[in-house]
C-alpha cells in the first residue's frame, strides 16, 4: 500500500468515526444534559467531532494530492498470529486465571517471536509466570485474576 492510499483510508475512518459520534450525540440521552449551564456535557465533545471531520478531510486531501512511497513491508503472518495470541491471553486471563493463561502464552509467544531453544522457553515461562504471580499476589497484594478451580491460582 502507498502512503497516499493509507492517508485516504485513515482520513475516511476518522471522518466516519466523527460522524458516528455526532449521530450518537443526537440521541435523546444527550438532549437535556447540562440545561442552564450554557456549556453542558455535550459542548466539548461536539467541538471534538467537528475537529475530527476537519482533520479527516485534510488527511484525505493530502492522500489524494500526494501518492507517496510504498509502506515498509512487514511480516503479516507473524503480526496476525502475535495479535491473535495476545488477544487470547487478554480475554482468557479473566476466565482461566493469571497462571493458566500466562504460562502457555509465554511458551507460544517466544516461539512465534523466533526464539528456538525449547528447554529454555519452558524454564523461562515457568519461572517468570510463577515469580510474577507470587510477587504481585503476595508481596504487593494486587490480587491477580484467578481460575475457577483454585483459590489463589
Amino acid at each position: 500500500m502507498r502512503e497516499g492510499t493509507s492517508n485516504i483510508l485513515s482520513g475516511s475512518i476518522i471522518i466516519l468515526f466523527g460522524v458516528a459520534m455526532l449521530l450518537e450525540m443526537a440521541k435523546a440521552q444527550y438532549a437535556g444534559m447540562g440545561e442552564g449551564l450554557g456549556t453542558g456535557p455535550a459542548f466539548f465533545p461536539r467541538i471534538l467531532m467537528g475537529a475530527f471531520i476537519i482533520t479527516g478531510l485534510l488527511t484525505i486531501l493530502n492522500g489524494v494530492r500526494k501518492k507517496g512511497n510504498l509502506l515498509e513491508p512487514i511480516n503479516k503472518g507473524k503480526i496476525f498470529v502475535f495479535i491473535l495470541i495476545t488477544s487470547v491471553l487478554f480475554f482468557s486471563v479473566s476466565c482461566l486465571g493469571f497462571l493458566f493463561s500466562v504460562f502457555p502464552f509465554l511458551l507460544v509467544a517466544m516461539w512465534v517471536m523466533g526464539f528456538r531453544k525449547k528447554l529454555l522457553i519452558v524454564v523461562i515461562s515457568l519461572i517468570f509466570s510463577l515469580s510474577s504471580w507470587y510477587l504481585f499476589n503476595f508481596v504487593f497484594e494486587i490480587i491477580l485474576p484467578t481460575s475457577p478451580w483454585f483459590i489463589y491460582i
Partner: protein, 502 residues
C-alpha cells in the same frame, strides 16, 4: 535559618538516612514496575509508618514519592513501558537512545536531570515557599485553562512528520478522555449502555497499550524468517555525559526545573502538565530542538527535570496551604495527618520546623537517589541482555499486569489490548501515538477548566481575557508557541531569498 538547622539536625543521623535509603530503593523498584505507581507504593508503606516517629516516617514517605517518580522513567527508557503518564515523555527520547545502544548514557541523563530537578525545587522551597504559595493561590480555572493550552501546544511540536496527523491523534486522546461521567454534571457520555465504560478509559491501560504493546507488535511485524538471536545493544550500568554536553543544554535544564517547581505548586495540576509544558518549551527553544523525539538527551532533561521538580513544588500547597496538588500529594498529606501533623496555613506559623524538616529530607533523598540509582542501574540494564524475542514476550505480561493492577478491573486489560492494536496501526499509518497520550492525560483538566472558565464569565470570551492578566500573558505565550516557528521559518526563507537576489 534556625529552622533549617533544626531540620538538618533531625534528618542527618544514621537511622534517618538508612530509612531514606530503604525508601529510595523501594520507590525505584515500585516506580520501575509497570502498574504499581507512586500512590500504591506509598499506600503499601503507610502501615509501616504508624509505629515510627514523625521525622523518619515523613522522610520515608517522601523518599518513596520522589524515587518512584524517577523509577517510572527506567522502564520507559529501557523497554518503552512508562510506569507513569509523566514518564511517557521520557520514553520519547530515552527508548530511541536505548535502541541505538546508548542506554547507559540515557540512564545517566535521566538520573542527573531528576536529581537536579529535585534539588532545585528543594532550594526554592527553602527560600521562597510562602511567596510561591501566595502566587499559586491566584491561579483559578481561567489561568489553569491557559496553562493547559500551553501544554497542549506540545501536541503540534511532537507531531513527527504530519502536523494534521498529530492533531488527529491528539483529538482521539481528548475524545477518549470524555468517555464516562461528565466532570461537572456527572452525566454519562459515550458509554453506549456498556457498564464498564461508565468509569471512563483508564489512562495507565492506554499507556501500556500505546507504548508497550504496540512496540511488541511492531517488533513482531519486523521479524524475519529463521531463528531470532538479536538483542538490544545493551550497555551495562549508567554513564554520565561530559560536562560540556550538559553545558550545551543548561538553558533547558534550568527552564525545566523552574517550570516543574512552579507548576507543581499549583493545586490540581500535577507532574504530567509540568512535563509536557517543559517538553514543549524545549521543542520550541532548545539548543537541539530539531532532534527532540529521536533520542536527544535534551528531551530527557526537559521531561525528567520537570518531573522531579514537581515533587518539591507539590509540597508547597500541600504543607503550606493544606491543599494537595495531586493524588500523590493527597496520600502524603494523609501520612502526615496520621502522624498528628495538620497541614495548612497555620503549619508555617506554628510549626515551621516540620516544613523545613520535610524540605531538608527532600534534599537528602535526592542525594541518596544518585548513589542508589547508580548501584541499581547495573541490574536494570541486565534486562536488555535478554534476547529481543524473550524480552518482548515478557513485556506483554508487564502490559497485562500493568493495565490490570491499577484498578483490578479486567476491562482495563481489554482497553490495553485495543490501545495496543490501535497504536500499531497508527504507527503504521504515520500517526504519532504521543499526541494521543497528551490529549488523554490533559483532556479531563482541559475540559473542566475550559467549562469552569466559561461558566464564571457567562460564556463571554472577552470577559475571560480582560479580568485575568496572568491568563492573558499565558495565552500570548500559547500564540507565540504556535505561530513563532512558522514566522521564524518564513523570516529565514525571506532572508535567504534576499541574499540570493543580492
Amino acid at each position: 535559618m534556625e529552622h533549617i538547622l533544626q531540620g538538618l539536625d533531625a534528618v542527618l543521623n544514621f537511622k534517618c538516612i538508612m530509612i531514606i535509603a530503604a525508601g529510595v530503593l523501594y520507590g525505584i523498584i515500585i516506580g520501575a514496575l509497570p502498574g504499581l505507581g507512586t500512590i500504591l507504593g506509598i499506600i503499601i508503606l503507610l502501615p509501616v509508618t504508624y509505629s515510627m516517629e514523625m521525622v523518619p516516617s515523613v522522610a520515608l514517605v517522601l523518599a518513596v514519592y520522589c524515587s518512584a517518580m524517577y523509577g517510572g522513567s527506567i522502564a520507559a527508557v529501557l523497554i518503552n513501558t512508562p510506569g507513569t503518564p509523566a514518564a511517557a515523555a521520557t520514553g520519547m527520547d530515552g527508548y530511541p537512545m536505548t535502541v541505538r545502544g546508548k542506554s547507559d548514557y540515557a540512564l545517566g541523563w535521566v538520573t542527573l536531570s531528576s536529581i537536579f530537578g529535585g534539588l532545585f525545587s528543594t532550594c526554592v522551597l527553602l527560600l521562597a515557599a510562602p511567596q510561591i504559595a501566595s502566587v499559586a493561590l491566584k491561579f483559578g480555572p481561567v489561568e489553569t485553562f491557559a496553562l493547559i493550552c500551553l501544554a497542549m501546544t506540545c501536541i503540534i511540536t511532537v507531531s513527527q512528520g504530519s502536523v494534521v496527523k498529530g492533531i488527529s491523534s491528539g483529538i482521539i486522546g481528548l475524545f477518549l478522555a470524555t468517555v464516562g461521567g461528565d466532570p461537572i454534571t456527572g452525566d454519562m457520555r459515550f458509554d453506549f449502555g456498556y457498564f464498564p465504560l461508565t468509569g471512563g478509559i483508564n489512562l495507565i491501560a492506554v499507556l501500556m497499550g500505546m507504548f508497550a504493546l504496540s512496540e511488541v507488535f511492531v517488533q513482531a511485524a519486523h521479524i524475519k524468517k529463521g531463528q531470532d538471536k538479536t538483542q538490544i545493544k545493551a550497555k551495562s550500568g549508567m554513564r554520565i555525559a561530559p560536562l560540556s554536553e550538559w553545558l550545551k543544554r543548561k538553558v533547558t535544564l534550568i527552564k525545566a526545573a523552574v517550570i516543574g517547581t512552579f507548576i507543581g505548586a499549583l493545586p490540581g495540576t500535577g507532574s504530567s502538565l509540568a512535563v509536557f509544558v517543559s517538553y514543549a518549551e524545549a521543542k520550541r527553544a532548545g539548543a537541539f530542538r530539531e532532534k527532540l523525539g529521536t533520542g536527544e538527551p535534551e528531551g530527557l532533561i526537559a521531561s525528567e527535570t520537570a518531573n522531579n521538580a514537581v515533587c518539591g513544588g507539590a509540597l508547597i500547597p500541600t504543607l503550606a496551604l493544606g491543599i494537595p496538588g495531586d493524588a500523590e500529594a493527597a496520600v502524603i498529606m494523609s501520612a502526615l495527618i496520621i502522624q498528628g501533623v495538620q497541614p495548612g496555613v497555620r503549619l508555617l506559623v506554628d510549626n515551621p520546623d516540620i516544613i523545613y524538616t520535610a524540605f531538608i529530607s527532600l534534599a537528602v533523598i535526592n542525594i541518596c537517589m544518585l548513589f542508589i540509582a547508580y548501584l541499581t542501574s547495573f541490574a536494570w540494564t541486565k534486562v536488555l541482555s535478554v534476547p529481543r524475542s524473550v524480552l518482548f514476550s515478557l513485556v506483554t505480561i508487564f502490559a497485562l499486569v500493568g493495565s490490570y493492577g491499577v484498578r483490578g478491573n479486567p476491562f482495563d486489560m481489554l482497553v490495553a489490548l485495543f490501545a495496543g492494536i490501535l497504536g500499531f496501526f497508527m504507527k503504521r499509518g504515520g500517526y504519532s501515538v504521543i499526541p494521543l497520550v497528551i490529549g488523554l492525560v490533559l483532556g479531563p483538566m482541559f475540559e473542566l477548566s475550559m467549562r469552569q472558565s466559561l461558566i464564571i464569565t457567562d460564556g463571554n470570551f472577552i470577559k475571560l481575557l480582560v479580568g485575568h492578566p496572568i491568563a492573558v500573558f499565558i495565552f500570548v505565550l500559547v500564540f507565540f508557541f504556535l505561530f513563532g516557528p512558522f514566522f521564524l521559518a518564513w523570516r529565514t526563507k525571506r532572508k535567504d531569498e534576499l541574499s540570493v537576489g543580492k
